[in-house]
């Protein structure tokens, strides 16, 4: 019965009450039902292969992603080491703050603008920052704001719920606290987030994106010492980022403290003396190369860098004509002027070109090679001692002419002019010491004899940094022993000094000349200290030709003073540079005097205190004697 008629159906067996008529024969669609069955098989195979693909072929891939969902690692930021002065006084400290990190795993880009607004961040900066992290693994969080204010914290707490901005997380971190007023700012430098270009350098290979590293100064030079090892907190979290279980904590290892050779007492004196000027002061101990003070003005506030520096602040610092980020003590390369004369003198004496009695006449200048070279005064007949004390140019024209540029250059280079001192600070400048070879190499030109005349008084192509000058003259005054200048106590014992067998008689003559500068009515009389033999040398160096200087009011001479004490076995040498002041170096002398005074005052004070302690306490006396013996061994 392939096609039962409706009538037939209803006649035989009315299946349903009412008027519904149903066609019988359910078999008519047998093939189609088979088609349905096969379709079901296809659907089930389609689904099962889906599970096969995920569960049998790639379970590790998905398991790893499940683990990454589940386990959250929050960095525990290690505090950087403190920076101390030579007496252990804290110069740079840390303090705890809260930082905001964004977890990129549940970051929604459309939230960024509101988050930036809420935290008073620049949206473009924030966006760029996130772009920089694009290639990093997603589970690495990014610190987007440090030093959260109470208002920031309130914003975060109010908005970090799952429905608003669940990507926000706070972690405790350590912020650098630098001295106010920019004291020692150039030496210490500042820290900042590691940059793309730094990440490419081999010495930064061990650091990660987002890490805070030293950018300049001591912070950079001793980054490996100061930086700690960040810890980590590993926990199981749910989809809202709530911690369900703590898996483990790796404590952060703080960085090591770093002791500088700088004496804050001297540093403050140097900074105050420079205030309002452009220039630098360097004080070091020529007997061991320890830098006791190093100041550069104008300065800046490194605390602005401690948190991410605002673009506006950065622009202000970099566009300032005074260039406050420049560490003039090691980066200003200026003609040394008359402070170069002791080096010319030693070259003359050592080569035998002149002796202490060789005299030159100074009628206010001298003629060489058809050119008239002026002196700053009329000195009559001048030999070594008077030439040094009165800083007579005519005398040194004669010495230079007789000695010759290559001899001068040889001795100057021995003293360290024209090469970096190798101080443990980044980006030191080398200065320039010209010579015939130097000119040939750099200009492919012959040396003109007239140029020697200029170099003899520290002009022409010769340039030095204040540190270089202090080191050069200091080593010379110490009898020809040059210790590498350094900033940290740890670096003190590292290497042997550069020694050079000078005729000590000649050294004494130079020292005597510099004694005359200060004590015998010479140009550096203002550096005189009662009870202490101070030596020194003034200098005022043209920064351009005389004609150019006359035409431009803002281009003025640099003033130099270099002073040390005591004359024999000097313990401290101070170089002072005032840029573009247009006054003679004698006016810079009091700065050096003040620094030296504070050095000796402190020394006396400590000795008296120790004496008093020993007087009142016999046990201390014994200890003191023991200590004294130990120190001397």
């Amino acid at each position: 019965m392939s096609f039962p008629s409706l009538e037939h159906h209803s006649d035989q067996q009315p299946l349903l009450p009412g008027k519904i008529q149903l066609r019988d024969d359910p078999k008519f669609a047998a093939t189609k039902m088979a088609v349905f069955q096969y379709s079901a098989v296809v659907v089930f195979l389609f689904l099962v292969t889906g599970f096969w693909d995920l569960q049998i072929r790639n379970p590790e891939f998905y398991n790893e992603r499940a683990e990454r969902n589940r386990i959250k690692e929050l960095p525990i930021v290690a505090p950087r080491g403190k920076i101390l002065d030579r007496d252990g006084r804290v110069i740079v400290d840390n303090h705890s703050t809260w930082s905001l990190i964004l977890s990129r795993e549940n970051l929604k880009t459309e939230h960024l603008r509101q988050i930036a607004d809420g935290l008073h961040l620049d949206y473009t900066d924030l966006y760029k920052k996130l772009q920089r992290y694009k290639n990093r693994p997603k589970y690495e969080p990014i610190i987007i704001k440090e030093e959260l204010t109470p208002a920031d914290m309130a914003f975060v707490e109010a908005h970090r719920d799952p429905d608003t901005f669940p990507e926000m997380e706070t972690i405790e971190s350590q912020r650098r606290l630098y001295p106010e007023n920019g004291i020692l700012a150039h030496v210490i430098g500042y820290t900042g987030e590691i940059s793309e270009s730094e990440l490419d350098l081999p010495q930064y290979a061990k650091y990660n994106q987002g890490q805070i590293v030293g950018k300049t100064g001591i912070e950079r030079e001793y980054n490996d010492t100061l930086i700690g090892v960040d810890g980590e907190r590993q926990s199981v979290v749910d989809n809202r980022g709530r911690e369900r279980e703590l898996l483990g904590i790796k404590e952060a290892k703080p960085g090591r403290n770093l002791q500088l050779t700088v004496d804050l007492d001297l540093q403050v004196v140097a900074e105050l003396a420079l205030e309002g000027r452009r220039g630098a002061v360097v004080a070091l101990n020529p007997q061991n190369g320890e830098v006791l003070a190093m100041a550069s003005q104008p300065t800046f506030d490194p605390n602005k860098f401690a948190v991410r520096i605002k673009n506006a602040d950065w622009r202000e610092l970099t566009s300032d004509p005074g260039n406050p980020l420049l560490n003039r003590a090691i980066q200003a390369q200026c003609a040394p002027g008359s402070t170069f004369k002791p080096i010319v003198a030693i070259a003359g004496l050592e080569t035998g070109s002149v002796d202490e009695n060789t005299a030159f006449n100074c009628p206010g200048g001298a003629n060489y090679f058809g050119h008239y070279y002026k002196c700053w005064a009329t000195h009559g007949s001048v030999s070594l001692h008077k030439g040094m004390a009165q800083s007579c140019d005519s005398y040194f024209y004669g010495v230079g002419n007789k000695t010759g540029i290559d001899n001068i250059a040889f001795y100057a280079q021995q003293a360290g002019i024209g090469t970096k001192t190798g101080i443990d600070l980044p980006n030191e400048a080398s200065g320039t010491m010209p010579s015939t070879e130097w000119k040939l190499r750099n200009f492919r030109q012959k040396w003109f004899a007239g140029e020697t005349i200029s170099v003899a008084i520290g002009q022409g192509a010769v340039t030095v940094t204040p540190l270089q000058l202090a080191s050069a003259i200091g080593g010379l005054a110490a009898g020809g022993v040059w210790h590498r200048p350094h900033m940290t106590v740890a670096a003190s014992k590292v290497e042997k000094p550069r020694e050079w067998a000078l005729n000590q008689e000649n050294v004494k003559k130079i020292v005597y000349g510099m004694y005359g500068v200060v004590n015998e009515g010479g140009t550096g009389g203002r550096a005189k200290l009662p009870g202490i033999d101070v030596c020194g040398k003034t200098g005022s160096a043209q920064v351009a030709s005389a004609e150019y200087e006359a035409a431009h009011k803002d281009v003025k001479d640099n003033a130099w003073f270099i002073g040390y004490a005591p004359c024999n076995n000097p313990e401290i040498i101070v170089a002072v540079l005032w840029e573009n002041v247009g006054v003679h170096g004698q006016f810079a002398a009091p700065t050096a005097r003040d620094v030296m005074k504070s050095y000796f005052d402190k020394k006396t004070r400590l000795a008296e205190a120790e004496a008093a302690r020993v007087r009142t306490n016999p046990v201390a006396a014994l200890n003191s004697a023991f200590l004294f013996r130990k120190l001397n061994n």
Partner: protein, 363 residues
């Protein structure tokens, strides 16, 4: 006419398969909800299932022909209730799907309206006078199905609305539709899809886009798909064990006791567990088809096949979503997902199948 449905004629294979699937569902609901605000759900589900079995039993005793005489009132009542839902329904998760009854019971009318539609299609096709479907019949049938579909899509609940299509589809396929109509349907479907995409809600569009490329916005609309795939994949061969799946327990998986229950199940029971359940579902479907094949008349065959097609579609869309091969539509997995409406409507439909089965020797 059969006077009483004998116990031995009841489809016991189907019954036990259904009970095992339901049992695994309850276990998974327990695992996925313990320690959460839904943690009592598993025993509520047990109550739903018990009530469902009772409903199935009762419906199996009713002659489906008797129901068919009432199909127009049933259909009209369903449409009216769907309108009522739109007017006074309870809103949740961005759509209005439920009618609240006294005693805290919420019923999803669209789940029950399916039954009326299955019966309607069966009766309509049985009453045809020709061997193949005529165009006007096709249009009539489409129109009566489009009314509830449109109302459900308006809730908006596109996923459930789409589940009405396989009922229509399998019906006209079995009734016999000339190939030129199939071509026409394909063309119309293409046009509707293209034009319809423009009128979709933005969340619906986002779901489709994120289905095509879930990694494009892993935190947004692609989130559910990605998390589901992670959960399934992390389950591996043997699974992480009951209450041990981190995706489920830490709630990275969205709604792990309702729409994504199979994802949670796959994480905790692995490929082996998945295979067991898939085989059970397949056996269930084959039992339904077998009942269709042995049905006493065309009406019974259409009823069984309507139920079968609907369940197959549910499984395809829901499980396909779980493995990332279908977009997120928010339709439940029959018998496993938590929820009274889904459980009851499924058991009612299985009751219909049994009603057909116990009357198979009528001729």
């Amino acid at each position: 006419m059969l006077q009483s449905a004998g116990l031995k004629d009841f489809d016991w294979t189907m019954f036990f398969v259904v009970l095992i699937i339901c049992g695994l569902g309850v276990l998974q609901i327990f695992s996925a909800t313990h320690g959460t605000i839904w943690q009592g759900s598993w025993w509520k589900q047990l109550l739903f299932i018990a009530a469902g079995v009772l409903l199935m039993w009762l419906v199996a005793h009713i002659d489906y022909h008797a129901l068919m005489t009432q199909v127009y009132p049933l259909y009209i009542a369903s449409v009216v209730l769907l309108v009522v839902v739109l007017l006074v329904g309870k809103r949740a998760f961005g759509s209005t799907r439920w009618i609240a009854f006294p005693g805290g019971v919420h019923l999803q009318v669209s789940e029950f309206a399916k039954i009326a539609v299955i019966l309607l299609v069966a009766r309509f096709l049985t009453e045809l006078s020709s061997e193949v479907l005529k165009l006007q019949d096709l249009l009539k049938l489409s129109a009566v199905i489009l009314v509830p579909m449109a109302l459900i899509a308006k809730e908006p609940d596109l996923g459930t609305a789409l589940t009405y299509l396989p009922i229509l589809g399998v019906g006209i396929f079995l009734a016999g539709l000339p190939w030129r109509y199939w071509t026409a349907i394909a063309v119309i479907a293409l046009v509707v899809v293209t034009v319809g995409y423009g009128s979709l809600h933005s969340y619906q569009k986002a779901r489709i886009v994120s289905f095509l490329d879930p990694e494009r916005d892993p935190q947004g609309t692609g989130y559910q798909l990605i998390q589901s795939k992670i959960a399934v994949g992390a389950g591996g061969t043997w699974g992480k064990g009951v209450t041990k799946g981190s995706q489920t327990q830490l709630r990275f998986l969205p709604v792990p006791h309702t729409d994504f229950i199979f994802s949670a199940f796959a994480e905790e029971h692995g490929f082996i567990g998945v295979m067991v359940v898939m085989v059970l579902y397949f056996v269930l479907l084959m039992q339904i088809v077998q009942n269709a094949q042995t049905a006493p008349d065309r009406a019974g065959m259409y009823v069984c096949m309507g139920v079968g097609a609907l369940l197959l579609f549910h499984i395809l869309v829901n499980v396909g979503m779980v493995v990332g091969r279908m977009p997120v539509t928010g339709i439940p997995l029959p018998l496993m997902s938590y929820g009274g409406s889904s459980i009851w409507s499924t058991f009612l439909m299985l009751g219909l199948v049994n009603s057909v089965r116990v009357r198979r020797f009528v001729n």
